[in-house]
């Protein structure tokens, strides 16, 4: 029982959030301009290791996040540094990369989901929703909100339907820390929705699951 990753897309087909847990094959870092800023901290961190992106620590606006008090979101182009200064971690072993870069992967995931959704609608002749598909190594689950946000989760192939968890993420952290957060620029097509509280809250929900 494993959960691999979570993608959130808005109604403009752009990936606005990404997080992963047990992936053994990570995507290559996204190309410049391939994804929006503030989609995933992890991807920026990967780039930092390669030494290509050192701007993160020298951002002039970093003072905001290291000060005391609660900062829910910072209107900054770069992903925010954690509120709590974590201990420097030992360098992780270099991850095995899939052949795809993250922006290509995100587009493929969206393409597959959209095509399957249309296929299921056409075949059923009514407004029936596509819910999941399964291959030999993973299972993809989809939950689509009325506002057109698509929550997509990849898990191991033998898990039961995880739509209720995606719904829970939508009803809990997403509404609380993204929709009700005045600093998150939703629907902007320029920024993702990543912020400290949302990420921590999603992480807590997923790690608390028996299927994690």
């Amino acid at each position: 029982m494993t959960i691999y990753s979570l993608y959130i897309y808005d109604r403009h087909c752009t990936c606005v959030y990404y997080q992963d847990w047990h992936r053994t094959k990570a995507p290559r870092p996204a190309t410049e301009g391939g994804i929006l800023p503030a989609v995933s901290q992890q991807l920026y961190q990967v780039r930092g290791e390669d030494g290509t992106l050192s701007v993160m620590n020298s951002s002039p606006r970093n003072t905001l996040s290291s000060s005391s008090g609660v900062v829910i979101a910072v209107n900054d182009e770069l992903p925010r540094t954690p509120l709590l200064q974590t201990m420097p971690q030992p360098p992780a072993p270099k991850p095995v990369h899939t052949g795809l870069s993250f922006d290509e992967e995100a587009k493929l995931v969206y393409g597959v989901v959209l095509s399957l959704r249309n296929m299921i609608k056409k075949l059923s002749g009514q407004d029936e929703q596509f819910t999941n598909y399964r291959t030999s190594t993973y299972k993809l689950h989809l939950y689509e909100t009325l506002s057109g946000y698509k929550f997509i989760m990849l898990s191991d192939p033998f898990s039961d339907s995880l739509r209720f968890i995606l719904r829970q993420i939508y009803a809990g952290p997403f509404l609380e820390y993204v929709v009700r957060n005045p600093l998150v620029n939703m629907d902007s097509k320029e920024y993702g929705i990543d912020n400290e509280y949302f990420r921590a809250s999603v992480d807590r929900i997923v790690r608390g699951l028996s299927v994690f």
Binding site: T135, T137, Y138, L140
Partner: protein, 132 residues
């Protein structure tokens, strides 16, 4: 517990056999079925590349709220697709039997051109006997 339809897709993504069983799903025009089969062929190839761990097969089952598609990919690249209700535990074994019938009634038929639409009464009647 119901079977709605059977498709056979050749290795190039063309629909060579399509049959509706019962009236669980609305009928579409043959053109629409050809388009859907082509789309499925493409999606199947992409799904195997999205694996978060190890190398993966293509999609094996695709589920909606009220029906699912079970896909059997043979070693030669032909795909057998069975449309059933969501709870249909026999889908895999039915597909294996369809593959057997295909080998017997289509591949051993000297008048059949490979990769072309299947027009064989023997195949038709044996499929009817199996799932009709």
């Amino acid at each position: 517990m119901a079977i709605f339809g059977l498709w056979v897709i050749n290795k190039a993504g063309g629909l060579v056999y399509q049959r509706n069983i019962g009236d669980g799903l609305p009928g579409l025009t043959s053109n629409e079925y050809l388009v859907l089969a082509g789309t499925l062929h493409g999606i199947h190839a992409i799904t195997s590349r999205l694996s978060p761990t190890g190398s993966s097969s293509g999609a094996h089952t695709i589920e909606g709220e009220a029906f699912k598609m079970t896909i059997l990919l043979t070693a030669t690249g032909t795909k057998f697709v069975l449309l059933t209700s969501v709870v249909e535990p026999t889908a895999d074994s039915v597909l294996q039997k369809v593959y057997e019938i295909y080998s017997d009634a289509v591949m051993k038929n000297p008048f059949h051109t490979p990769e072309m639409p299947i027009r064989s009464e023997a195949f038709d009647s044996r499929i009817t006997a199996l799932i009709g």
